[in-house]
Assembly symmetry: C2
Homo-oligomer: 142 residues x 2
Amino acid sequence: MQISSRFSVAVHVLTLLADNPAGELLTSDRLAGSVNTNPVVIRRILGQLKKAGLVEVRAAAGGTYLRRDPATLTLLDVYRAVDVVEGALFSVHEHPNPHCAMGRHIQAALDGTLARAQAALERELAATTLAQVVASVREPVG
Amino acid sequence: MQISSRFSVAVHVLTLLADNPAGELLTSDRLAGSVNTNPVVIRRILGQLKKAGLVEVRAAAGGTYLRRDPATLTLLDVYRAVDVVEGALFSVHEHPNPHCAMGRHIQAALDGTLARAQAALERELAATTLAQVVASVREPVG
DNA sequence: TTTTATTGTAACCAAAGTCGTTACAATAGA
DNA sequence: TCTATTGTAACGACTTTGGTTACAATAAAA
């Protein structure tokens, strides 16, 4: 099982927007061209990014532009925006046996442990900004 | 999207085994009772744990016992054993547009970033032993 | 040897999520 | 008014998950 590519596609799109000359809009068709997918897939993701305030989308002779400073926009913001993991990353069995005290205690102990692992993942995402991604794209060596 | 409960069920089962008086076997029926699921689900998971050398399973008047020292068995071992994430945790779009250099570079930069996030998660899992889980179950306060 | 409890595994199902696609109304700039 | 674009609904094919039934293989015990 993998985390939906919605997240990586969103970062891809935001990177293109951040790299774009200021003020110029990119259409879902052009963005889809770079990712190589269907424009509707891109529009669905743009809808989520818009809802989270990361981009502004214009209809008609339209397109999208970035609404946040790439230096302060972290991958955790994107991760949250596209709603790729709702709540807990690790699923635990929903209905533990209520008659087994041992079982209940294990679930509780496990919850804490798994939450720490999830937090480690999110800390790493929070430590990476869109500006850093753009920089490493421009200079593949670094 | 969440990581399969196979992983948390496996840790649950191993915790029960570690807490069990030495030498005594637990059947899939009893283990299923604590987790509150079907014995076949447990047996499927035990099969993976056995394959990875974490447990020994006996047929007939059978059952399962732990084969590794809880103090050195980490949650990363379990995570790997149940094969809950094959390869990369984050999926990236499989077919980037080969004609878009920008797109290709973004994919490469993204791969590195996402691999770091995954590594952070796995480091945390590797830092937690089964013995620690057992201890926190026995003493819920700590 | 026979009996018996248990494992190992195949087969099937319903539910959910993903990703791509077609279609079309709504929008806003020229 | 014309036109390019967005927003969204609807659908399909695919995959994974978790539960269930069924039954042969196994090995301990009687």
